[in-house]
């Protein structure tokens, strides 16, 4: 029944030993486990917040400290107008804004009820819910410290207000991110495989003896996939709006333009991957190595601010991070060019970097 089992098994062991990919077989799961294990077990914490303190007294300073000591909020910036407060959230720089009114300390000292407003970006429902609870709990705690106040009449009333996604629907948060991930998945695979297939079948060598230049070869391969990626973007956006009922708050043309910019690093990454692989199996492995981090570390599932510092810094090296930021910015918060140009610039730089890298790595001479 098992005739030849040992022979086959031994042959397979020999294959595995000879296969250059074996070097990574044990390293890959370990590296990814370490990366994602840390990212995944993270709670919501250290959420970037801005403060608009109109009171500027000892009491208001103390309150900001107390917000920070909940470890949910991390104040990254102080602003001086309502407009800046809201803009910080729309642009995605902060997910929460704390506004302390001018009479906060006076009310507190005179035994009147003091109010504090907390603006929360509701697009990520999980994070928003935690911030909501944390800010209300803080108000309750402050009231307990003082006498004469009941649960109905609190010394400090924290009034949270959810910006965008007021019903905290998780689809609104996940679907735009999913679009970014899917788009990247498809474009990276398509380009990586289209080059590796030529290498595998020997047609690449034939191409290299023709006067076709490296640039001509790479860009000529990229453009059709660019078009496919663009059509895909349109289709998934349509499904998002019609089926998942996630409205696009910002400009659709800006969304398409920036998606086009994202395709450059995504396709470039595909070509870079192809230069590391000599057959389709290897291309698959290398692609997964590149793509898993962009799923888990890009902020698609877990808020990046809550990640340990090293992993948080790592997330800046992933193009999808910026694209997901753009997608959520435009779709959920109605962010415009002014808020997103820096993300677009980073994507463009990644694109230039990847294409340059692929031209360098792409050995026109086979040696």
């Amino acid at each position: 029944m098992f005739r030849g089992l040992w022979a086959v098994m031994w042959k397979e062991i020999l294959h595995i030993r000879r296969d250059p990919a074996t070097r990574f077989v044990f390293a890959i799961p370990l590296i990814e486990l370490l990366l994602f294990g840390y990212a995944i077990e993270m709670d919501v914490k250290n959420i970037s917040s801005v403060v608009f303190d109109l009171d500027r007294q000892m009491e208001s300073r103390a309150l900001i400290k107390e917000f920070e000591s909940t470890r949910y909020f991390r104040v990254i910036l102080e602003v001086y107008s309502d407009r800046d407060l809201e803009q910080a959230i729309v642009s995605g720089r902060a997910k929460a804004g704390i506004k302390i009114p001018p009479n906060y300390s006076r009310d507190l000292v005179n035994g009147r009820q003091a109010t504090v407003q907390v603006l929360i970006d509701g697009s990520d429902s999980t994070t928003a819910l935690r911030l909501l609870q944390a800010s209300q709990a803080l108000g309750f705690l402050k009231s307990l410290e003082r006498e004469g106040f009941t649960q109905d009449l609190m010394a400090v009333e924290v009034r949270p207000r959810l910006l965008f996604n007021p019903n905290l629907e998780s689809a609104n948060f996940f679907v735009p991110g999913l679009i970014g991930i899917l788009l990247q998945l498809v474009t990276v695979f398509l380009t990586a495989f289209s080059v590796v297939r030529e290498r595998e079948r020997g047609t690449l060598e034939q191409l290299l003896v023709t006067p076709i230049s490296k640039g001509g070869l790479i860009v000529g391969k990229l453009l059709p996939y660019c078009a496919i990626g663009f059509i895909q973007t349109g289709l998934v956006l349509l499904v998002m709006v019609l089926l998942f009922r996630v409205p696009i708050h910002g400009s659709v043309s800006l969304l398409l333009l920036l998606s086009g910019i994202f395709l450059i690093p995504a396709l470039g990454m595909g070509i870079v991957i192809s230069t590391f692989a000599s057959n389709q199996g290897e291309a698959m492995q290398v692609s997964v190595l590149f793509l898993l981090p962009s799923i888990l570390l890009s902020g698609f599932i877990f808020p990046r601010e809550s990640m340990p510092l090293v992993i948080y810094l790592l997330s800046f090296l992933i193009p999808a991070t910026y694209f997901i930021e753009i997608l959520r910015g435009i779709i959920l918060r109605g962010a415009g060019w002014a808020a997103l140009w820096d993300e677009a610039l980073v994507l463009l730089s990644f694109g230039v970097l990847f294409i340059a890298l692929s031209v360098l790595r792409f050995k026109k001479r086979l040696g």
């Binding site: 079948r201 020997g202 047609t203 060598e205 034939q206 191409l207 290299l208 003896v209 023709t210 006067p211 076709i212 001479r365 086979l366 040696g367």
Partner: protein, 316 residues
């Protein structure tokens, strides 16, 4: 005669491995140069260096007066290359492959159409324009590959084992095509393992263990002193029971080397041995019907002898 391919002390190292060592040759216009050698001896590496796919570690080469390293792009317009593996797009049709390669060489539409007609006629691919390549037989695939490499009218054509794995009729047809091209002034550089193909070449080079050990016209190589050292002579013996006769002859001290060629035995005998002595030896061993005559060695004799000599030198 005008030299079209010139290699001067070409050398290629891959790390510690020397794949090609000090290879030099000159090939005149319109010749068919047969490049032979065992697998892994450096044949493909030489072709790749000449085509600009690999950079030589040392030495230089010129194709049609153009340096292959300094002007790699210029060289590409002058050469056609048919690689060892079939390397066209199997999921495209015959016509689509031709159109793609034509465009890759920058042929304008009108010129492309004209060239396509010409190479289709030359390669005998009429009526197959819309056929998917993966449905073609091996011989037709090779003809298409040849057609594609001829679209831009290269002056020099490199063919890496063009007839490997195809049937004898298709093989003959490919060679007829190659002769026609050579007659029209194209210089051909062909690698092969088939001795009958080598015999058809106007010049052959033999590479062994990364060194070019012989190069010249087949007739000249057969008269090389290393092949028939010190007055030794090649004989052909026609007899029955060739295998048994071979064993006896090999044991005879007058015989340096012997091998079977179909119904006959080729042997290299020491100086002073003549046909009469060899037939006398076999008659004494019981053969009655046999014939022995001095011959020129075949190219196979030449290459086997050279290989043995170099192997002995490398070994000790």
């Amino acid at each position: 005669m005008e030299t079209v391919i010139q290699a001067q002390r070409l050398t290629k190292r891959f790390g510690d491995l020397v794949a090609v060592r000090d290879v030099s040759f000159q090939i005149p216009r319109g010749e068919i140069f047969g490049f032979l050698g065992p697998n892994g001896s450096g044949k493909s590496t030489v072709i790749r260096m000449l085509c600009g796919l690999l950079q030589p570690t040392a030495g230089r080469a010129e194709l049609d007066g153009v340096d292959v390293v300094a002007e790699a792009e210029e060289v590409k317009r002058r050469i056609g290359y048919m690689s060892q593996r079939f390397s066209l797009y199997e999921d495209l049709t015959v016509e689509e492959n031709l159109d793609f390669y034509g465009a890759a060489y920058g042929l304008r539409p009108a010129r492309l159409a004209e060239r396509c007609r010409a190479v289709v006629e030359l390669a005998g691919l009429e009526g197959r324009a819309t056929q998917l390549v993966h449905t073609l037989s091996g011989g037709f695939k090779q003809r298409l590959a040849l057609a594609c490499s001829l679209l831009h009218e290269p002056k020099i054509l490199f063919l890496d084992e063009p007839t490997a794995g195809i049937d004898p009729v298709a093989r003959r047809e490919i060679w007829d095509l190659l002769f026609r091209l050579a007659q029209e002034g194209t210089t051909l550089f062909v690698t092969t393992h088939y001795m009958d193909e080598a015999e058809r070449c106007s010049q052959v080079g033999y590479i062994y263990h990364s060194k070019l050990v012989a190069c010249g016209k087949p007739q000249d190589l057969k008269r090389l002193p290393e092949i028939t050292p010190g007055g030794a002579e090649w004989f052909e013996v026609l007899c029955e029971e060739t295998t048994r006769a071979l064993g006896l002859l090999r044991d005879n001290p007058a015989v340096i080397d012997a091998t079977i060629f179909g119904e006959s035995i080729h042997l290299l005998a020491r100086e002073g041995t003549d046909a009469e002595m060899i037939s006398g030896f076999l008659r004494a061993a019981g053969w009655t019907r046999l014939e022995c005559r001095p011959v020129l060695p075949s190219l196979e004799d030449v290459f086997v002898t050279l290989t043995r000599r170099h192997r002995a030198q490398l070994g000790g």
